[in-house]
Symmetry: D2
Subunit: 429 residues, 4 copies
Amino acid sequence: MLNVDIPSLGPCQFASPLHQIGSTEVPFKTDQDRILYSNTVRGLEEPESALSFEEAGPREQIFFDPARTTVGIVTCGGLCPGLNDIIRGIVYQCYRQYGITKVYGFRYGYEGLVQRYGHTPLMLRPESVAQIHNFGGTILGSSRGQQPIGEMVDTLEDMGVDILFVIGGDGTLRGASEIAKEIKNRGLRKAVVGIPKTIDNDIMYLDKSFGFETAFAEAVNAVKCAYTEACGAVNGVGLLKLMGRDSGFIACYAALAGSNVDFVLIPEVSFTMEGTAGLLEALRYRLAKRGSAVIVVAEGAGQELCQAADGTDASGNKRYGDIGLFLKDQINAFFKARRMEVNLKYIDPSYIVRSVPANPQDNVYCSRLAQSAVHAAMAGKTSMLVGRWHNAFVHLPLDMVTHGRRKVDSKGELWHAVLESTGQPAIMV
Amino acid sequence: MLNVDIPSLGPCQFASPLHQIGSTEVPFKTDQDRILYSNTVRGLEEPESALSFEEAGPREQIFFDPARTTVGIVTCGGLCPGLNDIIRGIVYQCYRQYGITKVYGFRYGYEGLVQRYGHTPLMLRPESVAQIHNFGGTILGSSRGQQPIGEMVDTLEDMGVDILFVIGGDGTLRGASEIAKEIKNRGLRKAVVGIPKTIDNDIMYLDKSFGFETAFAEAVNAVKCAYTEACGAVNGVGLLKLMGRDSGFIACYAALAGSNVDFVLIPEVSFTMEGTAGLLEALRYRLAKRGSAVIVVAEGAGQELCQAADGTDASGNKRYGDIGLFLKDQINAFFKARRMEVNLKYIDPSYIVRSVPANPQDNVYCSRLAQSAVHAAMAGKTSMLVGRWHNAFVHLPLDMVTHGRRKVDSKGELWHAVLESTGQPAIMV
Amino acid sequence: MLNVDIPSLGPCQFASPLHQIGSTEVPFKTDQDRILYSNTVRGLEEPESALSFEEAGPREQIFFDPARTTVGIVTCGGLCPGLNDIIRGIVYQCYRQYGITKVYGFRYGYEGLVQRYGHTPLMLRPESVAQIHNFGGTILGSSRGQQPIGEMVDTLEDMGVDILFVIGGDGTLRGASEIAKEIKNRGLRKAVVGIPKTIDNDIMYLDKSFGFETAFAEAVNAVKCAYTEACGAVNGVGLLKLMGRDSGFIACYAALAGSNVDFVLIPEVSFTMEGTAGLLEALRYRLAKRGSAVIVVAEGAGQELCQAADGTDASGNKRYGDIGLFLKDQINAFFKARRMEVNLKYIDPSYIVRSVPANPQDNVYCSRLAQSAVHAAMAGKTSMLVGRWHNAFVHLPLDMVTHGRRKVDSKGELWHAVLESTGQPAIMV
Amino acid sequence: MLNVDIPSLGPCQFASPLHQIGSTEVPFKTDQDRILYSNTVRGLEEPESALSFEEAGPREQIFFDPARTTVGIVTCGGLCPGLNDIIRGIVYQCYRQYGITKVYGFRYGYEGLVQRYGHTPLMLRPESVAQIHNFGGTILGSSRGQQPIGEMVDTLEDMGVDILFVIGGDGTLRGASEIAKEIKNRGLRKAVVGIPKTIDNDIMYLDKSFGFETAFAEAVNAVKCAYTEACGAVNGVGLLKLMGRDSGFIACYAALAGSNVDFVLIPEVSFTMEGTAGLLEALRYRLAKRGSAVIVVAEGAGQELCQAADGTDASGNKRYGDIGLFLKDQINAFFKARRMEVNLKYIDPSYIVRSVPANPQDNVYCSRLAQSAVHAAMAGKTSMLVGRWHNAFVHLPLDMVTHGRRKVDSKGELWHAVLESTGQPAIMV
């Protein structure tokens, strides 16, 4: 069994203040409480699956003295349901469980850590965050892209920040890893703990990312609209573009929830437009059979088909061609050439899906993630993130997680369930 | 007082079967029950306002013999919340109150009345429509555009349809008027009764059109998302395009509901982009002051600014340039030229707003509209529509209503309330 | 034509600051802008209907000098959706349109106006109320019952309050009327303006009360649950108690919205339990026919049947017997005596219906009511309330409105529509 | 490692028709695909945790010949969100994946399997169940309680039912186990597969039961109302009774989601009313500190305090005293005796929480449970149920699961998180 280890700032010399909560035992964990990577008997026997992760939770001894600890929070990248819940959860946990009274909220992502931008940090208190979970977005604001690592660590030093919580996606967490390295290089005693944010649910080694439940539920509403529009016209086609740059989880789940979807297109499964086995003929056949059709396409699907623009965006991500508009044009042209009336309605709800408040599932999930993050940081863990694996909260090294993305396995159960549900051809090439 | 008269098929010789409902008095109306056009003392004194409309409701004597009456329903044009409620209301009213047992649902708009399209009509029964109000769209399907009047009347003759209920917008109702004329020319005894549908709420002489309450409530959700996105970024701009080809009611109400909107742009009020009094400078000023801004634009606003495509769509409506994309490009270019970082998020929720199920307000409103329509038709009224005026249901001649559209009065209270709420410059030219 | 007059504090000597809004004409109204009470031609001819009401809206000349005006707001009685919208609307209107900067929010109803309770008033500012419309209830808190008029006027004097906005029901508004009388007796120049609150929608001379749309929509959800429960069991009976002490509007509208209700029982229509024409036999018949039934009962229905407790509550309202539990027991006993299995599920959602946030319809309605109230008060109107009549906002004297309640007319269209929809016997005695 | 085995009807001699789905590999499982009971390294080392469960999923060889297989479905006990999703999922899976064309839906629980009740079963087809997931409840109806095992097996024989899917709670599943035994005693080849239903989420060895996500989300709405009511009055107390006869999961999760709850009372943790450490003094203290309080109580909490009625209900469950009304009376009396004004609002939303449609999370979860159940039954597994364990779907023997209930561990993380969130005394005795 290989133990996946977490970097530590040093030995824990302070007693956790959590001792003082009632006479109910605090569920303290030690670093020897370990969660199996594999949940199958077979997996245990394969060397590459015989890993174990550190279990999250409060530690009996902690690294930081709560009375002298200053905390910072920063939210980066695109909006995602639950950001405010995470912020609120960290603030509550710091104040109420550990007695920490200095929590800064850095504004507008990593920009807020670079002093020349002039974004003054907010002082966050329980009262000021009490109701923020009822709203979407992030009260701190966000921005995309990296900032100079040195300047950011300077700010942490200048402001005396001991713990930085970084909430963001892949690029952001790579930045967090670099901040942690610079902190180490300077010989500082500061923890950097990540909470992975990706509405696409594509974080490696994690059951699910926060906000995903909310986002996919919202996407289901859009699927219903696409279905209604499709049924409401002669040869109606409802074409819905959903999030999913590199992985199609939202598209798959949104399709499974209602079972009124005829085609799901995701980045993990190639398809062609033309030819007898292509999407267009499959669509023609479906229309002939049912009179209407719903297509759900993840934004990253079919990138080899639609001409991708060059360059990358501010976060360093590859820019994508617009597969939604591409499909719309191709489908309309195909049927026009065949003099067949088709009524295509194109729906692109992106910002509407991601900017809603977290639903109760995500409310609970985010507050538990936030608790885990604070416990980990107070114990001096650093360059790590918290997540959930097989229903347990665990610690993972930043570098382990940001080296890849979780994908829909085109040979696995989820995709098979989608194929069963849609009845679409398993191969459209 | 000028009475606005309604065409009639002839004298009413049958006793209404509504007599038989319990011993509670049926609220029968006569054609002498008249609703004032004006609700002000001043209006009564002005000749052009001293009109009165026939009040809707059951008549003691009716024109059609329920036992021998065949009814048809057709839904035309774009989707609108409440279509299924109207269909259900007509079917229930026909079956349960009048004892009519033949109700056809023509498929896909006026196409369904033209036999060579081959769309077989549905036989509608109370059981088959019992739950349809829980879904958006129309179970009959719809289509845009006119069809040959003669062929449609042929179908009514071939199928023995005595009453045709037409649910649709301006163009559709003009078609209904022509169908009624052709029926008259042929000397037939068939009633054509319209139920005006326009999600834009721009029907003349009507308090509100069905589906408007639902649509604007849905639009409010999109406004909240635009606001969340705007607040979540440095100089965030949430740009939301809503429905409203010729009138800006949805945009105005959606802005008033939340009071988080900075600019409302509607077809009735011109604006320019450039110049010190133009939108772009006003936006720059607002961003400087508040750090973010929300713009709600009706699709028909600023058409003189964005290059409109020629031609008309299948319903004979003028095609519109895309003011949303135009604004997006112009705003981005303006700030880029000034090297100012602006994060604009463009939201175009159109189909999502119109394809949701009717909310309870519209459930009730639609069922009462449907009841009024059936009462009117059974009394032999034709070439008319039912609507609500100052809280009363009334009959209006088709030709009176389809000659114009209701607009937001740029000098009136609604627009003034919007200006108060947004604080936008009253004049941006 | 009889003009219904509004008491006034005196001549208006200040120019409205609303002049300065852009170059768009402010829609100023004069006291000669009058709304007809009757919307029918016949009504105009009847002396008792030939009334006219003052139209609400901004006045060109105002009574109070905005720079020196202090405003107070108090919310009384039970919760109702929209209270926070009204508070927010008044604060926004005072600050943004009139430039008033002292707005007190008195805590916990009339208690907050009596100093010995020790409830310190809140200072309300636009920033502090910006998001309150997203929450149900009232940020000021509320209480039931009267307080000594003299002490309350003392507080207004001590705090220099010029305008008191009172949001509450019948009893509250009678209190407001007495406050206005005491102010007059003392020769003070203070306006008292009411905004009528009744979730039952039973205010005389008003189209609808704020919060009603939201409450009835929420009630529709409970009707759906009652229907689901009824269908889910052998001889299932879903029994739902809704609000409506003296009038059954919520029960009627909730039943009309879904058309899945079998019996509606309201205070305005008597019924008996026993006998061949009683409710129990009608229910037995319906169960035999359909296998399940839904009963919606307003809390004030059948009070002569269930033993009413004596006394009155803190607001001076008569206490009511619990008709819901009475029906539950009677129905269960009736079928048990006949050895017939019946599965009754009793649902009493009261607080859930009234404590939700206002929906968009009520958001807009409340903000326009608040605007009208501020305009009226600034013009020196007093001992009055604002409301909507036939789609226009009007001023009504407090004493005119609080002398009765609007009821569902048991011979009118609404009740007839309910009977049509439920198919219940018109007479159950 | 101890393998938990599943009873089997015999060897699988038919090839699964799932082979024919496209060229994408079907994710077939074998009985050697096993899921670990323990997800911790430590658990693996303890004998009682070193269990493994059979993984659910399609089998390459199956026991029943699809062309000759008849299926029955029965839903028992109280309503729970997702019942219709399960029914729909089974019907779709039978028809679309296995080509089975005879699926009976037995009406009204086990009553429907006893012929003398006269409930004719429904023939279920994909078209007839296509939209049922949009509605709460069960289209089959339900009933509580056992029926004679022999008569039920007679019906299965008479109707030629090969596979019976039983959806219900503890008592129902014990009945299913007895049906399976009787089938075995008679030497029949029929499978009985359970899908555990408990809105309380208290099934042993399962991550979560279907409908729980929806129910707790609905409960969160009621918590918000309780909070709104509490804040809206002087010393306001919102008292909310939620489901949870033996376990307090819904109460705990509903409290965690919003963090506006002051006391959570669950069956697993005793408390007293009186005394300095009792609930009443703790409440008095909280009111003095915050001015309002929200109490969430599970229906099974404090049963030793409120006098429990004797006897059991039709399902054989112990009847419970009404802890909600008990608390209401006790709290009111306590403060009345101390002449302290307290405004308690009692909310009991039970049927409203359980009769709503499943949310998208449960839509997906139910359809995957249904798929797993059909795969298991077709492979000849019997006297078992399907469930999810650590994110994998597994088979469990009926007898293993129905011998106990899952409880909130009063020393575990969930309860500790609740105590952290509410700040309530850990011990109130």
